[in-house]
Symmetry: C2
Subunit: 151 residues, 2 copies
């Protein structure tokens, strides 16, 4: 009777995300992660417009968008389960799964910098918000440069 | 010099969402709201499987999913700006924009019941979580029955 308990304990130690995504079809995971990036972009876009001076500065709107980015960013990683490098049209390069530890570090960077962006936005300090926006956008670029196909 | 100030004050009173979505193309809004529903479904699905007994009950996993649904639900409404009834393939019926007040009430129901679901999930009370899941799913159905085309 000990083996099943050990298996359950191991499953618990591996974390719930592994359990939840184990049976997911590649195309479902691909649709999910693309949805996550679409929601990120929807919220990132208006901030970028403000930072570039293309729309009027609106600290409250910026803060609302920053808060959402910080909530969505931690949800992206589970959209990249093993085997979801194919199955539907995807810009995710196969290198992601060959370098998953590095990919996770890059995702962690996005999560951390997004959190700092939401924190900065609460301060209402325009210069700090703009600087932190650039830091956060840099984590997007660092990952896209390496792991996103632009074909 | 008073008119610009009045216009700005009115814009502020209308809320930041109106400002942010004013210049959005219909197809962009449609992609955004569809992404929101995809993310909702990704998290709702594993909860439904547990409630139906198709996967083992996992209170922590349920709570994690419930928390996410509660975060995503309030982000959906801004995906339905005026004029986004066409512009890309969409299951959103034109009735939404003819009955926006009613549609908003239905969205509010989802937001409120999702919040209650996340709260219930924190309690760890399985029966309460399952009951609140059904209440929340009911708000999805109520809106889909009236405003979602199943063609």
């Amino acid at each position: 009777m000990r083996r099943p308990s050990l298996i359950l304990a191991t499953a618990a130690a591996l974390g719930t995300a592994a359990i939840a995504t184990a049976a997911v079809k590649p195309e479902t995971a691909i649709a999910y992660r693309q949805a996550g990036y679409t929601m990120l972009g929807w919220n990132f876009g208006p901030m970028a417009q403000m930072v570039r001076g293309k729309t009027p500065w609106d600290a409250a709107e910026f803060a609302r968008r920053a808060e959402r980015v910080a909530l969505i960013a931690p949800q992206l990683l589970e959209g990249f389960p093993e085997g979801s490098d194919t199955g539907a049209t995807t810009e995710a390069k196969p290198d992601i799964w060959k370098n998953m530890d590095d990919f996770k570090l890059k995702m962690d960077d996005l999560v951390k910098q997004s959190k700092l962006l939401a924190d900065a936005a609460k301060s209402g300090d325009e210069a700090r918000m703009k600087e932190q926006f650039k830091q956060t956008a840099g984590t997007c670029k660092a990952c896209h440069d390496k792991y996103r196909s632009e074909d």
